[in-house]
């Protein structure tokens, strides 16, 4: 049972702090001190997978390499998310600050922002802020350079290992794991890759301290999170909310009174139907999200929603591995055939099994997560799949 109520928070965008001072203070702390803070805060990655940020930094700091990197994942390709764009527009200095502090902790001299191709329009402003940032950091006597690299419009390049391949000038195809980025990331060197938002929280934690952050959220999902809210809602937009609220509370606040389902976590997330709103916690113990929340009211066809998602994956799959490349094609063709009556209803079961196989055999998170939306929509809206 959710015990948190919906609560707005103002950490990410708050302008009650001077970034230059926060950075200076952060850089004065010892690496152990910073690591302890991040670990204690319970911060988990905001890019989707939710890996504990402190651990990621710690592992990378323990690698004995001269050459290490910090990469900020600003590829933001998940359908329904647009919060990283907002963060980069409004508080880029905090993002860079987070990267610098990470760089200090792990021993990196270079950081990269991998910016979604469609966000080219942000670049000039970011470069300007970077100039100031580099001046600040020089004043602190810390040797750290941030570079901006542009993505080229493929969703898969947001996946960390494909992102490194792309940064290295190769085709954006996910790598085998292990080795993980903490050991072999960009240029096969130990690398921390974090989502834009994660870096800002890390930065803010060095200011407010782990305890303050801990006060927010639940045991599994500490702190708050920036949500991109879209769909059938009168108040679409970006909201920073405490983690752990129920979906019922959420819909109460953001729904249009006729919400029949919420897609939590974008195309690779889960679809929750009305009857489950009450028992669904938004957070890692319930339904996690990288920030995308799409509300659907009763005028929407869930068949169309599903088809749209699977089509997205079919096109955005890098195509290298069998389950994902062919699986997506089969899922689409399959639901179309069932809808048209060319295949019996039981074929949906075959497709569900296929989706399960895709989850356990695909090479990367893309193929592994197709089943999330597929199965949650088919399970909960079976009649819409058929009639």
């Amino acid at each position: 049972m959710p015990d948190k109520k919906l609560k707005r928070v103002d950490l990410i965008f708050s302008d009650d702090c001077n970034c230059k001072d926060v950075l200076a203070a952060g850089l004065k702390k010892s690496n152990e001190e910073i690591l302890k803070e991040i670990l204690d805060s319970g911060l988990r990655g905001r890019g989707g997978a939710g890996f504990p940020t402190g651990l990621k930094w710690k592992f990378t700091s323990q690698e004995a390499s001269e050459e290490k990197y910090v990469v900020c994942n600003a590829d933001e390709g998940e359908p329904g998310t647009f919060k990283d764009r907002e963060i980069l527009t409004r508080v880029p200095m905090k993002v860079f600050g987070g990267m610098a502090i990470c760089g200090k902790v792990i021993g990196a001299k270079h950081g990269y922002v991998y910016l979604r191709g469609e966000y080219q329009f942000l670049r000039a402003d970011l470069e300007k802020v970077l100039e100031e940032f580099h001046a600040n950091i020089k004043a602190e006597g810390f040797d750290f350079q941030i570079h901006i690299l542009m993505g080229s419009g493929a969703y898969i390049c947001g996946e960390e290992s494909a992102l490194f391949e792309s940064m290295e000038g190769k085709r954006g195809e996910p790598r085998n794991k292990p080795p993980y980025p903490t050991i072999a990331g960009f240029r096969s060197k130990p690398t921390v890759i974090n989502n834009v938002e994660t870096l800002v929280y890390a930065f803010m934690i060095t200011r407010i301290g782990a305890d303050k952050f801990q006060e927010l959220g639940t045991a599994d999902s500490r702190g708050s999170k920036v949500f991109s809210i879209s769909g059938d809602t009168p108040i679409a937009g970006i909201y920073e909310l405490e983690l752990g609220m129920s979906l019922e509370d959420f819909v109460e606040e953001f729904g249009d009174g006729d919400t029949k389902a919420v897609q939590v976590g974008g195309a690779s997330g889960f679809c929750v139907p009305r009857k489950k709103f009450k028992d669904t916690i938004i957070g890692f113990e319930g339904v996690p999200t990288g920030g995308s929340m799409m509300l659907f009211n009763s005028s929407r066809s869930m068949y169309n929603v599903l088809k749209n998602y699977v089509q997205f994956f079919e096109e955005e799959s890098c195509g290298q591995c069998t389950p994902c490349r062919v699986g997506c094609q089969q899922l689409i063709k399959g639901i179309e055939a069932v809808k048209k009556g060319e295949k019996s209803i039981t074929y949906l079961n075959t497709l569900q099994k296929l989706a399960d196989t895709m989850k356990v055999t695909s090479k990367c998170g893309l193929g592994q997560s197709v089943a999330n939306s597929f199965s949650s929509i088919v399970d909960n809206f079976k009649e819409e799949m058929i009639y």
């Binding site: 195509g319 069998t322 490349r325 062919v326 356990v360 055999t361």
Partner: protein, 596 residues
């Protein structure tokens, strides 16, 4: 001692060297895990996902070919979950696949088909995706056919072309459902940097990349009473053909091959080894002449090092990639083409046959030889010198088609003339062999003595290292060669085009200083040629190589200049090496080609 890790697979403990994969560990236990994208010669891809296994404590299945073995791992290779997943994967591949096996060249020799049969796939589980695909077949190249409808996108070919051959003619294009293996701008294979080496062909698990076959053409010629059909067999065919006919790798089948060819109906069964010896005479003389003009006459137009020119894959590679070095290539044609030019001149004359009725067939370990035979320069006899180059594999098909029991057919000899061979010619089939054969002859020409190596075996140039260097000090020379007295002849050998690229870059940067360089386009030399039996692995290539050197040791004559038929042809027809007639028939020139 290397670090070892201990793990458990299907309840059995196993220790392997750190860095090995779960798949390697399973192999140690003789547990078979199916694979498709994995290939011993290539880096790990982990994209087909057919090799998945269950690891205790891990939610998803893991790809055994890509997962490093780790201490304490507990692996299950045969669970319900694993079996379902693998079956799904194969079903998915088949749903994208134009599986008309009976019309497919790889029928019964296909890794996908084997898996489908192992899994007893009858009624397809999923829907057929082929009708929506716009699959194309590229059969414009004289060497290689690329049929996208048979492709499972394992990228073995892409990795081969990039890692082993440094050509990257093939790459991955598009993404998602449209992802495919493609050439630059989807140009046909004949119009890109492809060297026709066929290395991708021998690593493609399906019928998506195959050699262009000339079986019908050859049969038609054989059955045509008005044609005189002659056949030549390359050195490396005689130690590999058996593999496609049920024998162990490394079986020497020279006599059985000659007998079978005769049984197939060829009018004369001859040997490329003869022209390999001739190549040594021409190329050895060319080397010495070049050295004289470079060292004594200080002629700036003479290019040293001299590169061998027997390997048509290498020739096309250098034409594309290093055209500024074309003058360093020996002008000698390859043994196949020397043979071809002589077949319709010397042979025709001696045997009193109208050359227009001769059909000249070659059995080659190579797919690039098909392209070479079709080159417009290769018509010095007044006809196309070699009409059809077919692979070792194609010959095996013909032998099966003719109902010959290869295992029991008694040995026979090659015909004469142009059928006599030496050990020096046989070793052309292995990397380093041309170098060794050339040294055996050139050293003796210059000094009057045999090469100073035990039993004529120049082991420094043998082996499987990618690039090998050797130098021979030339002392006590005959008076005519006094300019070579005391010269340290520096040589190098490379096999596989990635190694060739390495040597070329070193030469370009001025870091390497050689007189003579042997390059073979394929890993291992012709033993690993793109026309050889499939599969190819380091172990198989080693066995073939061992067989080559055994064959050499067993030969009566082991130096090219002692081949009596070679001596005869110089006396009766050619005059002398590099003479007028040789120039006309045995030497050629090269063409600069574009880099994409």
């Amino acid at each position: 001692m290397a670090n070892t890790v201990n793990l458990k697979i299907d309840g059995i403990d196993v220790s392997v060297e750190a860095g090995k994969t779960v798949l390697d560990a399973a192999k140690e236990l003789n547990i078979h895990i199916p694979t498709l994208c994995h290939h011993e010669d290539l880096c790990v891809a982990g994209n087909c996902r057919v090799c998945v296994v269950e690891q205790e404590g891990v939610k998803n299945l893991v790809a055994s070919c890509a997962m490093p073995a780790q201490e304490g791992m507990v692996i299950h290779t045969n669970t319900h979950k694993v079996r379902n997943a693998r079956k799904h994967v194969v079903e998915l591949l088949l749903s994208e696949h134009n599986a008309d096996c009976t019309k497919c060249y790889k029928n019964t020799k296909c890794e996908l088909q084997d898996l489908a049969s192992e899994m007893v796939i009858s009624e397809p589980m999923f829907m057929d995706l082929v009708p929506e695909k716009n699959y194309t077949i590229d059969n414009f190249s004289p060497s290689i056919i690329k049929d996208d409808s048979k492709c499972i996108r394992c990228q073995r070919c892409v990795r081969t072309c990039h890692e082993l051959q440094h050509v990257s003619a093939l790459g991955v294009a598009y993404k998602g459902n449209e992802m495919k293996i493609s050439t630059f701008f989807e140009n046909p294979m004949y119009d890109v940097v492809c060297t026709n080496c066929g290395q991708c062909v021998i690593r493609c698990p399906t019928g998506a990349l195959i050699e262009k076959t000339y079986l019908d053409e050859v049969w038609d010629a054989i059955y045509d009473p008005n044609k005189h059909v002659i056949v030549q067999t390359a050195p490396a065919t005689r130690i590999a053909l058996g593999e496609d006919l049920g024998m162990e790798a490394g079986s020497i089948v020279t006599g059985k091959m000659a007998a079978s060819l005769r049984r197939l109906g060829f009018d004369s069964v001859l040997d490329t080894d003869f022209s390999a010896d001739l190549t040594i005479m021409e190329e050895g003389t060319e080397l010495l002449t070049r050295l004289k003009r470079a060292l004594v006459d200080k002629d700036p137009t003479v290019k040293v090092p001299m590169f061998t020119s027997c390997s048509p894959g290498w020739i096309k590679f250098i034409e594309h990639m290093y055209p500024e070095y074309l003058d360093n290539l020996s002008t000698c044609k390859s043994p196949q083409q020397m043979f071809g030019a002589l077949a319709k001149t010397y042979y025709a004359e001696k045997r009193g046959i109208d050359p227009s009725t001769i059909v000249s067939v070659s059995i080659m370990p190579c797919t690039a030889k098909k392209f070479e035979a079709a080159r417009p320069e290769m018509r010095d006899s007044g006809f196309q010198d070699v009409d059809y180059g077919i692979t070792t594999r194609e010959l095996a098909v013909m032998i099966k088609q003719a109902g010959i029991d290869f295992g029991s057919i008694p040995d026979e000899k090659f015909d004469s003339i142009m059928g006599k061979s030496t050990g020096a010619a046989v070793i052309f089939g292995a990397t380093g062999g041309v170098m060794e054969a050339a040294l055996r002859t050139a050293y003796e020409i210059v000094t009057g003595r045999e090469v100073p190596f035990e039993n004529l075996n120049i082991t420094a140039v043998r082996g499987m290292e990618g690039v090998r260097e050797a130098s021979v000090k030339i002392e006590n020379v005959l008076p005519a060669w006094s300019f070579l007295e005391g010269v340290e002849l520096k040589t190098a050998v490379a096999h596989g085009l990635t190694n060739a690229h390495q040597i070329m870059d070193a030469i370009k940067k001025g870091e390497a200083n050689y007189h003579f360089v042997e390059v073979m386009g394929c890993p291992g030399g012709c033993v690993g040629g793109g026309g050889q039996p499939i599969p190819t692995t380091p172990e198989i290539r080693q066995k073939r190589t061992d067989a080559i050197y055994r064959e050499d040791e067993g030969m009566e004559i082991r130096k090219s200049h002692e081949n009596p038929e070679v001596q005869q042809i110089y006396k009766e027809f050619l005059g002398e090496p590099l003479g007028h007639k040789s120039h006309e028939l045995l030497h050629t020139h090269y063409t600069k080609r574009k880099r994409v």
